[in-house]
Amino acid sequence: MNAPDDFTDDTRLTPLRLMIMLFVLTLAGALGWAVCSLPAYSSGLAVTALAELSNSGVLNPVTAAVLNYRGYDTLLEIAVLLLAVIGVWSLAQAEPPAAFEPASPVLLSFLRIVLPLMILIAGYLLWIGSFAPGGAFQGGAVLAGVLVLLRLSNQDRAIWSHEVWLRFCLVLGLSVFIAVAVGVMAGGGKLLEYPRAHAGMLILLIESAALISIALTLAALFVGGRALSDEDSSRASDNGVQPE
Amino acid sequence: MNLDHWLLVFILLSSFVTGLIIFFLKEEAHRLRTLLNLFGALLKVILVGVMIAGVQANHVYESRLELLPGLDLVLRADAMSALFATLSSVLWLVTTLYAVGYLEGEPHRSRFFGFFSICVSATTGVALAGNLITFLIFYELLTLSTYPLVVHRGTEKSLQAGRTYLIYTLSGGALLLLATVWLHTLAGPVEFSLGGALAQVATQHRSELIAIFALLITGLGVKAALFPLHGWLPQAMVAPAPVSALLHAVAVVKAGAFGIVRVVYDLYGVYTAEALGVLAPLAGVAAFTIIYGSVRALFQDDLKRRLAFSTVSQVSYIALGTALFGYLSTIGGLTHLVHQGIMKITLFFCAGIFAHTLGVHKVSEMAGLGLRMPWSMAAFTIAALGMIGVPPFAGFISKWYIGLGAVGSGSYWAVAILAASSALNAAYFLPILHAAWFKKRQDPWPADHAHGAGEGHWMLLAPPLVTAALVVAAGVLANAPFSPLEWVRYITEIEYGK
């Protein structure tokens, strides 16, 4: 379907490309020069971040920054994740994974061993995030790996066919995050100002919900389109349009 | 809530609101539309009457709206604005009547009358504007509301005329905007007042004020059809006759001329303008335009085009009277603002009747018209004689005062211009009158739409008869109280500090 010249990329140095290259080199040179003038030692915000760590509810400064100091960034970032799925779904319907059918028996037996382990690791990463590198994103990525493997072995129909549940799980992370962010204001605090005593708990709650949504989101991006629900599959269309 | 603050707003709204309502009327709602039109027009005349009575009784009518910090939209009634507001509201009333008769049975009447009403609101706004930015706002609104009238017919030719009209007026508007902003940065918010408001500024910013004056006059000169900015006017003749009447006598050209008057007398002040030396060039341009318009009119066979070039010439009388530095010429120029309006509207009404009823569009087709349509032709004759300046009609009075003023200020060349122009006026009007009254008609009329031997619908005929009567009255009763001349005399006395 593709014209072959799209793939065999023309890499000759035309005058235009030379100009682009010169421009890029100039930019790199200028930036490099600027970077060299940076102070060699700067604690940045490390001192402040560590000083406030005991108030953040977690022991890992990065997690504190992600979910507490700059939790508002993360709130919108979870929204970006959901938005990406909505965007991808608005574009096209997923292609049925015919290419991988039927899954090889070797793959299936491999999965039987590795999948439970991966789920365990995902949970562990989520848990460890409070003390050491880890957290919802890392855990979510591993969990997404599980879903991708299921996809590759064509064992994931159950996940993608229950549209109501699917949507519910996708929005779970953002919903819980917003609920907590606004909920803590009931006690007179500001948005996302966790009460000190419950900060660790609330962060874990948000992370657990986010873990599920992140894993599903990443897997949905891998699938690359709206899942075929049962009623759709009978009349799948190629124009990316979902009849209602 | 004080009525004094709202009267001017009501005057504007009386036609604006009716215009808006008319847009939404069904095309077939002829009766209701006519009723609304006349109601709006009458209401406006009454309100303007109330305003004049109030101004006489030393009421101050003023409405303000803050546009920006330090910049107000100001409506104010003074003697000058009352003069123009009266002119436009009275002439609008008769034009409305005429237009209803003229457009009977044509398509898009709701659109037409809607814009017609808004156009008059804009003109009234121009009259009542209390400072330059307010003037500018209504001046541009006038451009916008007249464009749909000019292109009303929707033919290739009228669309072309509309395009020319917009190119001229929008460019002029841009210059006016530039000048207004410039003046604002130099002098702050300057309001119109008799005697002018820029004397103080003129000492510091002499050259800037001269440049601003040039920009202002150029911007206004487009609508006032000063040479060489008159090009749109003859083209716009493709519009229906009521529109031509409106453009020439009530709204557009008059707004330009009125603007020039405002700038010279109420913004700069006649003494300041004279001191800056900007009046002489203006007088020169006006004089040239007078002669140029008359000469061009001489060679037009199309009646409406001939009248259009006549307007180019006649409106410059106003500019000339304004620019000649002298008490009497000022009186003449301002009076001509009114007199030219009533004379020219009569001519256009009649030309419209000729075209509408008999299909006569050309001067060469007018032989014997006087016998066929004595009433219309009589009105036409009175107005034409007035234009030439024959006593005792209105045109004589204004030309007389301009001439006196020219002599008084030693500008004898202006007297020569007046004489030459009057001769030219005679040269292009008298043959028409001669043919119409004294020649016998051989061929049938190009397109006789008259029912029986009549002169058309009474709504067509009554307006020119009324305005022709006004032409006579303004001349004969020139010294009566409340005549245009007396009114202008009152304004001029304040202006010159007498």
Binding site: V35, G87, I178, S237 | L65, P148, H152, L170, H184
Partner: protein, 500 residues
């Protein structure tokens, strides 16, 4: 102090649309109602916020209670409030329009396509609104990056929603441009953090010094924003993306989304890099604006399709915004120039939304949007043509429209500082705008008997266009209060002549 006075209104402008994004994604049938309710809710919340800012000056809000430098601050000053008012008001009108647009049975598209568009328009639009409001309230440059991305993803997905070939290709280009612009911006943020160890706008403003670091950060961030803001000559992606989207989307993209980048640029230029910028760079940006005005108008004069004409008009009008940089150089006219460009943003947003909606109605009725074949459109759609004309008046800058007041102030700033070249440019741009607006209106007056329009246009769609165009015109008569409000927190000198 009542609850109304102390409520954290600025949060609701963000939380409401975010929640609505989730709800409209879950409940498709109720989505239009949720959407309209959300935009109405954001009108209420911005009204509350405006009252607070008018009453007690600019606000700051430390999310999480951490405060600068560790946490993220929100802030609301005159500029933010006006931008929020803009997004809320435009939002209501577009939502009302869209509710009808995506469910009109007469539409040209097939029903299935429409159902699909309806299902995804609402959540995408709600996230767009959240991103936009978040952006207008952010006082933190890294957070600005996050909101920019939220905004960008929603905008690109919306642009692709029509699903046709041209729309998809345009959206792809838009996405590449948007992502690279964001990365430029992010690099600038990184450099600033590396140098000054904070990402708060106000804290940085006190620290930034001229030098290679500040210069490179400014260059990176400005180029990123210029690409995203479609400033000439980086505008190439805008016309196809805006013209091929569904009508409500075109309106949102043209009226609101491009303004977001300009808003950030304005903030950075006057607050953050106030000590770094030079007259030469300001003039350079002004020249880009001049190029945009001339080139965009010239292109608009030659477009065969109505929506492309309107899209190129956006390119041209964005050029005017760039004029603020050279015009604000002179301390005397800085405040006027600043007010002018912000008011220009407001006026353009109303006018452009109205114009796109009206153009959409015309295209909807005629079944095409070829300008040459639009004869006699007034007979079929008087209200939409009136909306187009009124919006055109504001774009041209004729009184008494909002565009006129904005141009008045621009001219005042230009003449007040003796910059005649810019003044001339502003006037020439107006005349060019008149020319391309008249290209369309021209066809309204031709008297040909046209066949009845193929499709009836629902009244809601006509009236929402007309309402916004009326607002664009009336903006000229209510400029005093907004301009006054703009002084609250304005980063430019308060002493301007003629502004006493």
């Amino acid at each position: 102090m009542t609850l109304w006075d102390t409520a954290p209104w600025l949060l609701w402008s963000i939380v409401l649309p975010l929640s609505a994004g989730i709800l409209t994604f879950l409940f498709r049938r109720a989505a239009p109602w949720i959407g309209i309710a959300t935009t109405l809710g954001s009108v209420v919340s911005v009204a509350g916020l405006a009252a607070q800012v008018v009453h007690s000056g600019p606000l700051r809000y430390s999310v999480g209670g951490w405060g600068v430098p560790l946490g993220i601050d929100l802030r609301a000053d005159g500029l933010s409030v006006l931008m929020l008012v803009m997004s809320a008001v435009i939002g209501v009108a577009v939502s009302v329009y869209a509710a009808r647009y995506f469910s009109d049975a007469d539409a040209t598209d097939e029903r299935a396509v429409q159902a699909h568009q309806r299902a995804y328009f609402w959540p995408l639009w709600m996230f767009l609104l959240a991103g936009l409001n978040g952006l207008f309230l952010a006082a933190d440059i890294f957070h600005l990056y996050v909101t920019l991305e939220l905004l960008g993803f929603a905008a690109v997905s919306l642009a692709a929603l029509a699903g046709k070939r041209a729309a998809v290709v345009a959206a792809m280009r838009y996405l590449l441009v948007s992502l690279s612009g964001s990365l430029f911006f992010l690099f600038g943020v990184a450099i600033l953090y590396a140098a000054y160890a904070t990402v708060d706008l106000t804290a940085l403003a006190g620290k930034v010094q001229p030098g290679p670091l500040a210069w490179s950060a400014l260059a990176l961030m400005a180029s990123g924003l210029l690409i995203k803001g479609a400033v000439f000559p980086l505008h190439f992606w805008l016309p196809p993306a805006h013209a091929n989207a569904p009508t409500p989307v075109s309106a949102l993209l043209s009226a609101l989304v491009v303004k977001a980048s300009f808003y950030i640029l304005l903030r950075l230029w006057f607050e953050l890099f106030g000590a770094v910028v030079t007259p030469a760079t300001a003039t350079f940006l002004g020249l880009l604006g001049a190029g945009a005005i001339l080139w965009g108008s010239a292109q608009a004069l030659h477009q065969p399709r109505l929506k492309l004409l309107v899209a190129y008009s956006t390119v041209a009008q964005l050029g005017y915004l760039m004029l603020v940089f050279p015009l604000a150089q002179n301390a005397g006219s800085a405040l006027t120039a600043w007010s002018a460009c912000v008011y220009f943003v407001l006026a353009h947003a109303c006018a452009k939304t109205a114009m796109f909606l009206a153009a959409g109605n015309i295209a909807h009725a005629a079944g095409h949007d070829r300008i040459a074949d639009l004869d006699g459109i007034t007979q079929a759609l008087p209200l939409s043509v009136a909306a187009f004309a009124l919006a055109g008046i504001s774009l041209i800058g004729l009184p008494p429209s909002g565009g006129f007041i904005a141009k008045w102030m621009l001219l005042q700033a230009a003449i007040g500082s003796g910059k005649w070249g810019w003044a001339t440019l502003i006037l020439v741009g107006s005349l060019l705008a008149a020319a391309y607006v008249m290209r369309v209106l021209w066809h309204a007056f031709t008297q040909v008997e046209v066949a009845r329009p193929l499709h009836r246009v629902p009244r809601t769609m006509e009236w929402s266009a007309l309402a916004l165009s009326l607002l664009a015109v009336l903006l000229g008569l209510m400029a005093a209060r907004p301009v006054e409000l703009l002084r609250s927190g304005a980063p430019v000198s308060m002493h301007a002549p003629g502004q006493t």
